[in-house]
């Protein structure tokens, strides 16, 4: 009995998922990079893996040169679980503070999953002056907070797509659909979280209302919802030609299955995280042909043939871990962030936070997701040309189970094809 109790206690002690990894063999002390995020979610898990991959590459090349000494990077990760339904923001913040105090990191990479946790956590990051390169949370609220007090919050950067840039890609995709098929009735379904709410509202405001589209319905679903039948019935009844989903929860895969099984005559075009990776075809038994999905950063779960760095990164991950990347958001900017940080530290020749921040602001690096530069809100600039800015990619699942990029034009591999049973309005 005592053994069983002991075993259970051991398992419970191990369960918080406090993981340390890094390299050995350097005489100098390592530079710690903290990864506090939702490690139990695909985006967090794969982002953590690519950070380790980038750190291994940098360490294999001799590490980072600071003050005339080559120092290795070391990764310290903690699962703050902020993506899980019902986990309060203060609990996630405790995890961030814990890793800052215990591991004394030179910088944070990846960071909170939920924007609610990021925005609240900005005060902790500012208090301890730890530069952070966020790669998952997307609400522009963090940039607005930074702009109100730039001196206090200057430590926070975002390398991934934010909701404002996502709106541009979704609007571009809708414009393409309208141009090719004449569709102009849309039903918006989004997760009831800050970034998805903001994205849904912004697309309506900046595109649908101005371009003459009719938004026939909007539905907000709490995280964890597992039945979307009501909204799909409403979409059918209202004559929607396009359904625009915006979800990053695992259960959103059910929406795609229901869309197919209920035979809703509308094009599914937006963002559903389970649809992003190549494995989705098998997961959904090949029932996703025709669905259009956005990959938030090129390199995360998809590569473009005309940007070799994205292909190299995609293949490198597969060779390292045995499986292709599946998360359409997070991994590519997490990988880039490690290199951006390494370059900033070397340019600053110091680990002093303000010096690193000053160099991060000067970032101009072309890599996996195109050219990365930060704007005045410390947000990576996204656009449609990888030579000018970072890029996202919108692709369509073909009926044969492959993915072809359809937007932006600079990366496009083909045109949109309507799924069987759906007719063009032109």
């Amino acid at each position: 009995m005592k053994r069983i109790v002991g075993l259970i206690s051991l398992v419970l002690l191990l369960s918080p998922g406090f993981i340390l990894s890094g390299s050995i063999g350097f005489a100098a002390d390592p530079i710690v990079i903290a990864v506090p995020t939702s490690l139990g979610f695909l985006e967090g898990k794969e982002s953590h893996k690519v950070v380790q991959m980038a750190v291994s590459e940098i360490n294999a090349r001799g590490g980072v040169r600071v003050g005339g000494v080559q120092r290795p990077f070391e990764v310290a990760a903690i699962d703050i679980r902020d993506a899980a339904p019902g986990v309060p923001v203060p609990e996630a913040l405790l995890g961030i503070e814990k890793i800052i105090l215990e591991k004394k990191p030179a910088a944070i990479v990846v960071g909170p999953f939920r924007s609610e946790a990021l925005i609240a956590g900005m005060d902790i990051i500012a208090k301890y002056k730890v530069p952070m390169l966020g790669t998952i949370a997307m609400s522009p609220g963090s940039e607005a907070k930074l702009k109100k007090d730039p001196e206090k919050y200057k430590y926070i950067f975002r390398t991934c797509l934010n909701a404002v840039h996502l709106v541009k890609y979704l609007a571009g995709t809708m414009a393409l659909i309208n141009e090719e098929f004449g569709f102009n009735k849309v039903y918006v379904m989004h997760q009831d979280v800050a970034w998805a709410r903001a994205t849904g509202e912004f697309v309506k405001k900046v595109y649908f209302d101005k371009a003459g589209w009719e938004v026939v319905g909007t539905e907000a679903y709490p995280t964890g919802t597992s039945d979307f039948s009501s909204a799909l019935m409403k979409a059918r009844a209202s004559g929607a030609q396009v359904i625009m989903p915006i979800f990053d929860m695992p259960q959103s895969g059910i929406l795609v299955k229901q869309w197919k099984s209920m035979k809703v005559p509308a094009l599914m075009a937006g963002f559903i995280s389970p649809l992003a990776g190549s494995g989705a075809w098998k997961t959904f038994d090949g029932k996703i042909g025709g669905a259009i999905n956005c990959i938030f950063e090129l390199g995360s779960a998809i590569y473009a043939a005309n940007l070799p760095q994205s292909k190299d990164f995609y293949n490198k991950y597969q060779n390292t871990y045995g499986n292709p990347l599946q998360a359409g958001h997070g991994p590519a900017p997490a990988y880039e962030s490690v290199y951006i940080l390494a370059e900033a530290i070397e340019r600053a020749n110091s680990l002093e936070p303000d010096a690193i921040v000053a160099e991060l602001q000067k970032t101009d690096r072309t890599g996996v997701m195109g050219r990365v530069r930060y704007d005045e809100g410390h947000q990576a600039v996204f656009g449609n040309d990888p030579n000018e800015s970072a890029v996202a990619a919108v692709f369509q699942w073909t009926e044969k189970g492959s993915r072809k990029i359809i937007f932006p034009a600079s990366l496009a591999e083909g045109k949109i094809e309507l799924p069987a049973g759906l007719k063009s309005a032109k």
Binding site: L12, A84, K257
Partner: protein
């Protein structure tokens, strides 16, 4: 739209009943609130997935094996842990919750997180019912759910073990004087409850995917249904499942999905305020009257 909503509300109700019936059965017989229930649901689903994908065992056989293994796990959990704390409600809750947490976190710790963790549907087809398309998996869930309720009624009314279950549930001491081994029956009831969680996972998981967080979700839904229906009352579970199931889908359709969770919680609060023992519950009913 109305008929379509009714169809999906019935499906939702049966799903809720399937999720709650095992928890309710164990509590009704032994008085043990098995807080590892959601974890056993997830454990069974992952086990089926592993047998199917790693060992290449056909799905139905994988599902049968995982149901059996989950039942054994439930029995072992009772014999080696719960038996020691039986009758101490708080200790039972802490022990089962701890076991559940350990199971879920182990899956998370070993990186079993991703969208590829799902089970195949039994039949890949859609039917038109009342003017709305419904996939065969959901139709089968309703059929299996209703068959299970009938089977459980027959089992508890016309089999010796079932009658022993009811005997222990009514009065454990009197049952003991009639030669019924209460520990053995309690072991069987926890095991059967675990098996019902596994069966629910086998039919429900193909609709979506498996994730450690599902364990908490299933536990919360089972608790909600049992609290509204009355802990230990099978009839109460069925009525509560339909009440909550219909409330959820009609809120989705005629209000907004944004309010779905609030409506369900409000229903629970209302029942607790008016009748704390639940709609058909016998627990503490006498104290309420006094």
């Amino acid at each position: 739209m109305f008929l379509g909503t009714v169809v999906y509300a019935v499906i939702n109700s049966v799903i809720l009943a399937l999720m709650a019936i095992g928890f309710n059965l164990t509590f009704g017989i032994t008085g043990v609130a098995n807080f590892a229930y959601g974890s056993l649901y997830v454990f069974s689903a992952y086990l089926s997935w592993m047998l199917l994908n790693w060992l290449g065992i056909p799905f139905l056989l994988s599902a049968a094996v995982s149901i059996l293994v989950t039942m054994i796990l439930g029995a072992l959990m009772y014999r080696f842990i719960l038996l020691r704390v039986r009758g101490q409600a708080l200790s039972e809750v802490i022990a089962t919750f701890g076991i559940g947490l350990a199971i879920l976190e182990l899956f998370r710790y070993f990186g079993m997180v991703g969208f590829e963790y799902t089970l195949p549907v039994f039949v890949d087809h859609s039917l038109m019912i009342a003017g709305v398309y419904v996939d065969m998996q959901r139709v089968l869930i309703v059929v299996i759910g209703l068959a299970l309720i009938v089977a459980l009624w027959v089992f508890t009314h016309h089999s010796s073990i079932g009658l022993a279950f009811r005997g222990i549930a009514q009065d454990e001491r009197t049952a003991l004087t009639l030669g019924i081994d209460s520990d053995w029956i309690a072991t069987l009831s926890v095991s059967l409850g675990a098996g019902l969680a596994a069966l629910a996972a086998t039919v429900i998981v193909p609709l979506g995917s498996i994730a450690p967080a599902e364990g908490y979700d299933v536990l919360i839904k089972a608790l909600a249904v049992c609290i509204v229906g009355g802990l230990g009352s099978t009839g109460g579970v069925i009525v509560a499942s339909f009440a909550i199931g219909f409330a959820e889908r009609f809120t989705d359709t005629y209000l907004s999905s944004h309010w779905t969770m609030i409506v369900s919680l409000a229903a629970i609060l209302l029942v607790l305020a008016i009748k704390p023992s639940g709609l058909f519950g016998k627990q503490k009913e006498l104290e309420e009257r006094i």
